[in-house]
Symmetry: C2
Subunit: 220 residues, 2 copies
């Protein structure tokens, strides 16, 4: 079995958001799909260990903010590589309350859902949500997961359905990983800018997860 | 609620295939997503009225053939706008038997699954499949549903989760539908070639669903 085949499935990049009491929280996801057209329902897959999972269980609602090519990529890292149990992810990411749900301002569209069914697996819950509100927020093109992965060199966090352990190389990585480079130890983003990494200013931050220059490690 | 927001979810284009006794059959789908990484599982959504649904129920297995930009677009139409109950869809589409499943030869990758769970909705079944085989078949780039929709001007069949009734216009269609043109009455493909439609040879066939020139209707 060649797990690299899974990378040929196409996805977008989404922030699944929810209320934790008075505070909004959420996580990055690439797995969301429409299940029925009438009434419109959407399924998402969320790891049991993600704090967002517990909050969806508790409130029975979630919103999907669909990120665009021009959305700030650090949003993906903030929501993907940190836990909402410990930090307020929306402290650094602007949101609007739409249809009663927290929605990322910098998104191209949002879909608000009420959970009507779920299916459990060993590691993830598939929530089936009935859409109760949705709208387009800008004319930004939705970013694809393939673009995030291949062009932005972003990786999947450990809890993602599409997580691939570091020892498995995907086709598109084989070339780039052959050359030396600096990699963010938090989100695995690989620096590929024109300025040599060593010459970047000390306040340089990982464009994906926002971590400081110091967490980058040289790979050989 | 603005249903156009749903078009911002990103998908690929897949042929879900299955055995019907000795004969292979299947249908076009854009909704397939990985649910868990270890063990790898994939969810698909198939309309109750699709013959493929009954065959998956009966055999407990399905394969996903992932189509690429260079895959023949008539495959999408053959599997999307005809029923496998009445015709042998694989009669005009080459397949290989891989891991015991019928797989479209012209695909860029395939994933073979055994059903381990399912979730019912009013119109669709969400099948959860545990992957028992997968491989890359070519270095073709996977086609996105957005490309099929916007560039190839393909539409969703009535049974698709992403079906939008004809009276609802999606953003990208508003411009193109304002101009006159010929539209396939079967799959709604809009002819946009350089040669005037009237001057096309009589054996011209719809590139999406393979229907003859005669089924095209002039829209005003």
């Amino acid at each position: 079995m060649n797990n690299n085949a899974f990378w040929n499935l196409s996805y977008g990049v989404y922030i699944i958001s929810v209320w934790d009491g008075e505070r909004p929280t959420g996580c990055t996801a690439n797995c969301a799909m429409q299940i029925t057209a009438e009434p419109p329902t959407i399924a998402i897959s969320i790891n049991h260990d993600n704090y967002t999972n517990q909050c969806i269980e508790k409130t029975g609602k979630f919103a999907i903010s669909i990120l665009g090519y021009n959305s700030d990529p650090s949003i993906i890292g903030t929501f993907g590589f940190k836990t909402g149990k410990e930090i307020d992810k929306f402290a650094s990411v602007s949101f609007e309350k739409l249809a009663g749900m927290p929605v990322v301002k910098d998104a191209c569209a949002y879909i608000a859902c009420e959970v009507i069914n779920k299916m459990e697996t060993d590691t993830h819950t598939v929530f089936l949500g009935r859409v109760f509100d949705a709208d387009i927020l800008s004319d930004k093109e939705p970013i694809t997961y393939s673009y995030y992965h291949k062009v932005l060199k972003g990786k999947s966090p450990k809890n993602a359905p599409t997580y691939i352990a570091d020892n498995i190389k995907v086709n598109s990585e084989i070339d780039s990983e052959a050359s030396e480079g600096y990699v963010c130890s938090i989100c695995k983003y690989q620096y590929s800018g024109d300025i040599p990494f060593e010459e970047l200013p000390e306040d340089y931050k990982c464009p994906i997860c926002g971590q400081p220059k110091a967490v980058f490690k040289k790979q050989v």
